[in-house]
Subunit: 217 residues, 2 copies
Amino acid sequence: MEDGKFQNGGGLGVKVMTDEQMEMLRKQISVYATICEQLVEMHKALSAQQDFAGMRLGNPYFCDPLLSSSVHKIGSRQRWTPKPAQLEILEQIFKQCNATPGRQKIKDITKELAQHGQISETNVYNWFQNRRARSKRKQSAILPNSGESEVETEIESFKEKKTKPEDSQPDEEDATPVSDHMHFHSPDIGIDQFVGKMESPGSCIPYWQMEQYDLFG
Amino acid sequence: MEDGKFQNGGGLGVKVMTDEQMEMLRKQISVYATICEQLVEMHKALSAQQDFAGMRLGNPYFCDPLLSSSVHKIGSRQRWTPKPAQLEILEQIFKQCNATPGRQKIKDITKELAQHGQISETNVYNWFQNRRARSKRKQSAILPNSGESEVETEIESFKEKKTKPEDSQPDEEDATPVSDHMHFHSPDIGIDQFVGKMESPGSCIPYWQMEQYDLFG
DNA sequence: ATACTATGAATGAAAG
DNA sequence: CTTTCATTCATAGTAT
C-alpha cells in the first residue's frame, strides 16, 4: 500500500515506536523548534537595527524559508474532542460522584463512551481530572472568603471568567512581556543557580527522604 | 502531509510510521539543526560586530535571552522544570534501571544533573516516581484485559507485564519495531547554552505522539 | 487575520 | 508504590 514507493530495504513499510522513543523525538524537535523561534525573533530584532543584507544572502535558511515558517506545523495530531453525547454521559457521571472514578470505573465509562465515538481511557481520566480541578477553581473564585466547606454545588451554568487572566507572575518589575505580538510564552525558566530551592521550607527533611535516607539507611 | 496516505496499521496505542513519515521526520530535524546552526552563527557574528547595548537595556527579553541563559524572574516559578539536557539524562537512566534508584543513586544523579541547572534530590526522586507510575498507567490503559465487565482483583498483574513498550499491540504483522538506532542526533549543535534556556517544549507537536484518535477515523 | 476562551493533555509535587 | 492535586501548555472553537 503506502509503502509502494517509499519502502526501505527490508520491504516493510512501517515501523513501530515505543512511547519512550516517541517522547524523546518529540522533545528533541521541540527543542529545535523553540531554539529556532527564539533565534528568529532575535534575528528579526537585530535586523531592524541594521542592514546586513550581504550576510543573509547565500543562506537559504534564513532568508525566508525559515521565517515563513516552512518548518513549523507539519501535520498535527489534534486532541480528542468529546462528542455531545459523550459529554452528556460524562457530566452525568460526574454529578453522581465528583470523586475520581477508579480504574475499573474508568474502563467502564470508556467502554460506554466508545459507543459514541473514538475515545480512550486516558481521555476519560483526563476529563474527570480537569472537570474536578476546574470545578473547584471556579468555586473558590466566586466565593473568595466565605466558608468553603459546603460548596459541592455544581456550577456549570456559571460561565465565570477571570476578569484578568493574571500573568501568574508575582514579579511585576520592569518586565515587559514581548508576547504582545507573538507567543513567547514562558520566557523564563527555572535555572536559578542562585535562588534557594524551595523544597524544604524549613529544616525538615521531606517525608520521602526521611523514609529512605534515615530510616532505611 | 496528508495522513490519508498512511494508516496506523490498526495498532491501538502503537505508533506506526511509514518510511515516508520517517523520512519526513528526519528531514525536519535536519532542517532544524541546520537552521539553528546558521542562526547561532549569525547571532554570534552580529554580537561581535556590534554592541547593541541600548537594545539590551531596554528590552530584557530581546537582548539575548538565549545567551544569558537564565533570564527569568526570580520566584516566578515554583516548581522545578527539567531542562532538555536533564531530561535526556534522566530518561537514559530510567531506561537502564526503571526501578527506584537508591538513595545514593539519587544523590549521584542529582549531582550530575545539577551541572545543567538547579535541581534537588527531591526533584529527582519525584521524577522517577512519576515516570514509573505513568509508564505503568499507560500500559495498563491498553492492557489486554479481556476480562468481562467484572470488577475482580483490580490489582491485576500489570507488574512487569510488558517491560518494553508502554503499549504494544499484537498487530504488527508487517511492522518492524524501531530499534534504538533510530535516534536522530541530539541537538549537538553548539547551542547548549541555548538549550538550557528553554523549557517550553511543544511549540510544535507534529503528527507523532498521535494516538488512536480520530486521526484515521 | 487576530484575540480570546474553553478545555484536553502533560507533569511536578504531595497525599495516602 | 499508587492516586490525587495543582499548575501549566497547547490547541480547537469562536468572537472581534
